[in-house]
């Protein structure tokens, strides 16, 4: 945990540096006697730097008070990557294929991905969910869902 905290403190210090650089580049547009648009970002930048240094010092020189053993599980990372790729592909294809056609496929893929092998259940859930959500959002709440260019 100690090593991870040191690494995180460094990452946050780099981020604080980047944020400071962005803040310094903000336009200088102020009314008389007012705090500029960069005032609050500078305060946050100072707080982030201070707290990151505190985390670094605490991790380097003191015993950690954290009792939990935090660690990333690779199976979850794998699932997360698959989920992200699938979702991004789904979002990209929605404009072309539309919500009604694509969503059952997306839901079925997620169900298969999470270990379901009951084909009837997969077909039923993916179709019913799509129709239910379409009806609820599109018809009841008037959220216009992508119709697709194919239809």
């Amino acid at each position: 945990m100690k090593r991870v905290n040191i690494l995180i403190a460094f990452v946050l210090l780099v981020f604080a540096g980047y944020y400071a650089w962005l803040t310094a580049a903000l336009p200088d547009r102020n009314l008389p006697n007012t705090m500029g648009i960069d005032f609050f970002p500078w305060v946050l930048c100072a707080a982030l730097t201070g707290l990151s240094l505190l985390l670094l010092i605490k991790s380097l020189f003191f015993k950690t008070s954290e009792t939990c053993m935090y660690r990333v599980e690779w199976i979850e990372i794998k699932e997360m990557l698959i989920f992200l790729v699938l979702t991004v592909a789904y979002l990209q294809a929605l404009d072309y294929l539309g919500f009604i056609i694509l969503t059952p496929v997306y839901i079925a893929t997620l169900m298969i991905g999470s270990g379901s092998r009951r084909w009837k259940e997969i077909a039923l859930i993916s179709l019913l969910t799509t129709v239910g959500i379409y009806f609820f959002f599109d018809k009841v709440f008037q959220v216009i869902l992508p119709g697709g260019k194919l239809l």
Partner: protein
């Protein structure tokens, strides 16, 4: 009859508002009892719908979920010894023991009735205390309001965290994220990278959905939480006898009082309240030695407490604009969507709405006890719905919910980005709640800070000249440094064994 108290009541009794309350209660019972799905997740799933309905109907929907989500959590705690919500953890101790003795129905009945007792107790406290606090807070200027928001954030960043440095870092990163978009006072773009979508800033709805839903989805997809034991026994005798119920009043009262008190302190939350209530009820009970072995009082006290927490948490949220827990933070977000800014001015300028909140919470509690008691046997069956079915549905609801915000997938991308961030934050011990709070409170924190300094011609001592702001700032400092310094002081004065 033009009194806002009555006009608000008539408004709440309109069909669409009662329907919203019923829908919220039903959904809350479901979300609350499903292990792995939290009340906060339920709230963020419903949040996109609140864009399309009136503020009062939204409140009915969300308060219905809030009231029943806590009760639903006790169902799985009693039946399968897995609390549906963290606040139902103490209920499992005696509730499940009762279920093992074939008294599951009795335990569930007591849990529902105690929840109602706690909910109504919390509401009475809310009704009595909040106008008084709001009247005092009406005299606050920008420095005091800044100090209150700062204290609220510090409390939530520090309380109950493994490391309060990480809690504060989480809050600071949340505040940094909220600086993206148009500057609240000058209207100049900040950190927008010439992107049109970013000019309106990071909307907190996709951020909330990402922070709460995506880590649970990833856990669900990886099969981490999909093995839920089943309860196959018959549930009977749900309504306890009046004589037995009278014996529980003391425990329910203790639970309600502790729950409301703890709930009103920002950052403490339900789990602390329920365990305190359980412990006090055990000490105050004649049958304290039977606690943990299936004692009904051990169910009544924590259940009354976890519903009373809700009423307590609504006090600082409505009067000062400081949410007591993540659920009230989401509720605050829902009000902001409708242009309602919780705080002392809400009481003087929109008393009708404030009373509507009170009535809506009362209706939610009545609806909760009615629906829960009449459908307990049905809910036992619902507990058998596997996660492999729920997770894909939640994913699509999240995507459509964020898309529906501005009819663009930009917000969906924001949701995914926050989801990934939340996943890694969870993994490395960074709490999510401070970030959520910072996202909700960030704009008002900046506005009050800058306004105070403008009015004082840039003089920072403005925060220390007023006794109230000075007191709040000192409390914030103590809250942050206390946990760092106290162990060192204690170890210095500790006598060797």
């Amino acid at each position: 009859m033009n009194d806002p108290l009555f006009t608000a009541l008539f408004e709440i009794l309109r069909f669409e508002n009662l329907l919203a309350s019923f829908a919220g209660v039903t959904f809350g019972l479901f979300i609350g009892m499903m292990p792995g799905l939290t009340v906060s997740l339920g709230m963020v799933l419903l949040l996109p719908l609140t864009y399309k309905i009136s503020a009062i109907t939204s409140v009915c929907l969300l308060l219905g979920l809030y009231a029943s989500g806590m009760t639903g959590g006790s169902f799985s705690a009693v039946l399968i010894n897995i609390p549906g919500t963290p606040s139902a953890s103490a209920t499992a101790l005696d509730g499940h023991a009762m279920a093992q003795q074939g008294r599951a129905g009795e335990a569930l009945g007591i849990a529902v009735i105690a929840s109602f007792f706690g909910g109504v107790f919390g509401l009475i406290c809310l009704w009595v205390a909040s106008p008084i606090i709001a009247r005092v807070a009406l005299n606050f200027g920008a420095p005091e309001l800044f100090a209150i928001v700062l204290l609220g954030l510090t409390l939530i960043c520090s309380f109950g965290q493994e490391s309060n440095i990480k809690g504060l870092l989480s809050g600071i990163v949340g505040l940094i994220i909220m600086t993206v978009g148009l500057d609240p006072m000058m209207g100049t773009p900040r950190f927008t990278f010439d992107t049109v979508e970013l000019q309106a800033g990071i909307s907190f709805l996709p951020a909330m959905i990402g922070l709460f839903a995506i880590p649970q989805i990833i856990r669900g997809l990886s099969g981490k939480s999909s093995v839920i034991p089943q309860y196959d026994e018959k549930v009977t005798g749900v309504l306890p006898r009046l004589r037995n119920l009278v014996k529980l009043v003391k425990s329910m009262f203790i639970g309600s009082a502790i729950g409301t008190g703890v709930g009103a302190i920002p950052g403490t939350g339900g789990p602390i309240g329920v365990f305190l209530a359980y412990d006090y009820a055990r000490k105050a009970s004649k049958s304290g030695n039977r606690f943990g072995k299936g004692e009904p009082e051990g169910v009544a006290a924590p259940e009354a407490a976890n519903n009373a927490v809700a009423g307590g948490a609504l006090i600082p949220m409505l009067t000062l604009g400081i949410p007591g827990d993540p659920i009230t933070a989401i509720l605050l977000g829902a009000l902001l969507i409708h242009g309602l800014i919780p705080g002392p001015l809400l009481f003087s300028q929109n008393a009708h709405f404030v009373y509507a909140v009170f009535w809506a919470y009362l209706v939610a509690n009545i609806m909760n006890i009615t629906v829960s008691l009449s459908t307990i046997k049905l809910w036992v069956r619902v507990l058998k719905v596997p996660e492999r079915i729920l997770i894909p549905i939640i994913v699509v609801v999240c995507i459509v919910g964020t898309y529906g915000l501005r009819n663009t997938f930009f917000d969906t991308a924001i949701m995914l980005a926050f989801g990934i961030l939340a996943y890694f934050m969870n993994k490395y011990g960074f709490p999510i709640v401070p970030m959520l709070l910072a996202i909700v409170l960030g704009p008002s924190l900046e506005s009050h800070l800058r306004m105070s300094l403008i009015l004082a011609d840039g003089d920072w001592t403005v925060f220390f000249r007023q006794p109230i702001s000075l007191a709040f700032i000192l409390l914030a400092v103590v809250t942050f440094f206390g946990p760092l310094i106290l162990p060192a002081i204690r170890s210095r004065f500790k006598k060797p064994c």
